[in-house]
């Protein structure tokens, strides 16, 4: 959002972003055409969003079968930021976006205290100023929202919004890719994606306990291990929490990886 406010004379800055957006889209669509893990790919998507939109934090929130928003993937696993997503079970930009199906963009969150009495103090406390949300849609249904949090004030420009929507579409395809979506198939697939997230969270806790890591370190280690071994993040997590016979060896390998110097 920063330099792009300059408008017409911004051709010089617009072109590199276009290239970067296209690069991101090409590499993400490449992953979609290959075997991929939903939680892992959506985490990558949030990271791309943050880079391309000059935003500090981004997260995908999906509606569960009871139409409550739950976090599927985010740029950060910091507790303060997780709380911002989790608060949106009740109120916040993502809930408003989900309910109306329209993007939400608030330049300065401090001016929205009455609109979101619990969300605003939490957002300010976590160091955010601007908050935005872009709807996720498929088969005529709003599936959830992409939440975007910035540390500087400013609304999303139309170009920003387009980038956000493009990445959000890719996220929807990733979640629903097994079958063409119909209202009947969308809900079970959302539910299955959210279940994967639960298992990944459990695996983070298990590694915190067994290897004495923070949950953030545990998540990073899981992703690194899954990539190095060409396995799905969720499959590694599921083996860790449900397969007590292969657990000791897997934890051993993870411990070795954690101790290895970064390349």
């Amino acid at each position: 959002m920063r330099a792009r406010k300059s408008g017409k004379e911004g051709n010089v800055t617009v072109t590199p972003r276009e290239t970067r957006v296209l690069d991101a889209v090409v590499s993400l669509v490449d992953s979609l055409l290959d075997d991929f893990d939903v939680v892992d790919l959506l985490t990558v998507l949030t990271e791309r969003c943050a880079e391309l939109l000059d935003i500090e934090a981004a997260g995908f929130l999906l509606a569960d079968p009871l139409q409550q928003l739950r976090l599927l993937a985010a740029t950060s696993e910091q507790a303060r930021e997780l709380e911002l997503y989790q608060l949106q079970a009740d109120e916040g930009p993502c809930v408003d976006c989900y309910v109306t199906g329209q993007p939400v963009s608030v330049a300065d969150v401090r001016e929205a205290k009455e609109r979101w009495p619990r969300f605003v103090p939490a957002a300010v406390g976590a160091g955010f100023v601007s908050v935005h949300a872009v709807p996720m849609r498929a088969a005529g249904i709003v599936l959830g929202a992409l939440g975007l949090f910035g540390t500087r004030s400013g609304e999303l420009t139309e170009a920003d919004l387009l980038v956000g929507q493009t990445l959000t579409h890719i996220a929807c395809v990733a979640i629903l890719q097994e079958h063409p979506p119909t209202p009947a198939t969308v809900m079970p697939q959302l539910r299955s994606a959210l279940t994967n997230r639960v298992i990944v969270e459990q695996a983070k806790g298990l590694l915190r306990e067994m290897l004495d890591l923070s949950v953030e370190e545990a998540f990073h280690l899981l992703r690194t291990y899954a990539r190095a071994n060409d396995e799905h993040l969720t499959d590694v997590a599921r083996r860790l929490v449900t397969d007590r016979y292969s657990r000791p060896m897997l934890v051993g390998e993870l411990a070795e990886l954690a101790a290895a110097p970064p390349r």
Partner: protein, 235 residues
Amino acid sequence: MAIHEQLLAAVDGRRGVEAADRLCEACVVLLDVDAAAISLVFDGASSGTLGSSGAPARMYDELQFTLGEGPCLESVARRIPILVVDLADPREARWPAYGPAMLAYQIRGVYALPVVVAGEYIGALDLFRAQPGELPGEDLAGAVAAAELAGVPLLDILDGDLEAAVTDPNSNAWVELNTLSRAEVSQATGMLIAQLEVEPAEALVRLRAHAYATGRSATDVARDILDRRLKLEAD
């Protein structure tokens, strides 16, 4: 009122088998089905029908455990919804014993949705219908919501010592599902899996039982476990 809100109203303030029965009754009233049952497929010993909309539903459901095949068992094993639109279709040959048995009871449509607790597929909501055909989209969405809600009574059943929960007149399934799906609770569940050497669903049951026993929220208990301020004893 949306279907999921009516389902919530049906279970609020109720626990265990009673909540499961009421949820099944609500499915029959709100969805275009003739019978509904919730079963638990977990740990062998506790497997079986848990709640039902009535005697016929219980019979249709229990038959799966007698015959060793059926919608609930398949839905849990494959971790997907099983939607059979017409058991009388000659191409429908997935259950050689269960299919003909259900046809003899005049049931042609069978729909099963997995019930998930702590990421584990531990049971299913089974819906039965005399009329063949697909469930309309709205009904299927309602059925998925009912299967999500069914996680709460299944947790109750898995918790042997339920007194605290049973006597809580303010228990609210919506609030409970929201709390139990938070990241901290799943992370703490993961720590308990390692500490207590139990399966995920049992770890969540233990966390929740501790919250009930001490009158605290599951989130607070989860944070204490994560920060190593609290350690639950192994059984």
